[in-house]
Symmetry: none
């Protein structure tokens, strides 16, 4: 029996996942959490095989941090990130944080259950659309931004200043600037707006 913990701030999604997974004989949803921190605490105290983790919690992407903390536990459960959209920066950040995989919420129940079983065995499981993009990405090592650089760039695209980005990511402006300088170099531009335009045209950011 694979012991599964759900972590998602949408009550509807939690109920849906639980309903879908309860149909599987070998999967058991032992607990559900709406707050990432509580899930981390639970995993520290109980034996859990797989955590289904949402990335966005009311706008904030605290799922990444929670994933990192879960993977830092002794005998950590596998973390399977489950989100609505496949933003590239989020995928890389999640994998970097130790996630075993990354699935989209529009996966059908069978694929979801299969993904959980794969993750429980320690295999890496990625949604097909994500796997395809990762492959294309690795073939182009030159323009590849680091996870952090992409994260910063995405916030620039949302119109945030360096100061605001620093606050959002708990960084100094110096570090934000540093990341942006590297981004500019890799993309061959010399301003934030040009970087956003370039990244958008190549599909790096939506």
């Amino acid at each position: 029996m694979i012991r599964v913990v759900l972590c998602d701030d949408h009550p509807v999604v939690r109920a849906g996942l639980a309903a879908v997974l309860d149909l599987e004989d070998d999967l058991e949803v032992v607990r559900q959490f709406a707050v990432a921190n509580e899930a981390v605490a639970f995993c520290a105290a109980q034996a859990v095989d797989v955590v289904l983790m949402d990335l966005q919690f009311g706008g904030r992407v605290e799922g990444i941090g929670a994933t990192r903390r879960i993977r830092a536990l002794p005998r950590p459960p596998q973390v399977l990130v489950l989100t609505t959209y496949d933003v590239e920066s989020d995928v890389l950040a999640a994998v970097d944080a130790g996630a075993a995989g990354y699935l989209l919420k529009d996966a059908d129940p069978a694929a979801l259950a299969a993904g959980i079983r794969d993750a429980a065995r320690g295999e890496t499981v990625l949604a097909p659309s994500i796997a395809q993009r990762l492959v294309r990405r690795t073939l182009r090592p030159d323009t590849s931004l680091s996870p952090r650089e992409l994260e910063v760039l995405a916030l620039v695209a949302d119109g945030l200043s360096n100061q605001q980005i620093g606050e959002r990511l708990f960084l100094s402006q110096a570090t934000v600037k540093s990341h942006l300088v590297h981004v500019f170099g890799k993309l061959g531009v010399d301003s934030r707006t040009a970087a956003v335009a370039a990244a958008r045209s190549t599909g790096m950011i939506r």
Copy 2:
């Protein structure tokens, strides 16, 4: 008994909604659909009180069209749009198509059930965050940019500096800045990147 039809391409979301709504004594989920067209056909043949309609179906926003066709039926059911993100243009389009309301998927079950009952009575129901933004919006009557302002903004979105924009449009930087200051005021932002983000989110620029 309020007869409810679910229409969402996410199996998980459908299951979650059904599970949540089944707990309400006065609500009955009579059918679920993954495809908008099938839901329209069902509503044409059966008595339905409220349709919970997702907007995005695998990237496409066919929910708007389905809402319009449902509302064009004789004795049409109320349509309650249920989506993940509150994109302003989607809200306006949904209301224009005849939707009775617009809720976010992170609504808690009680609010969801209440919204369905309100919609069944023919009342307009909006998620609080959406209502708030609509009010702010109507208080700011001057969101329309002049042709020249739009032209400048489009070049900003392409990553050009004020100097480059001036050269392109045969203007001095002073004039470019002047246009941008007006754009910032109308959009309620204070930087070029934020202006681009805002204009993009409302569909002013591609």
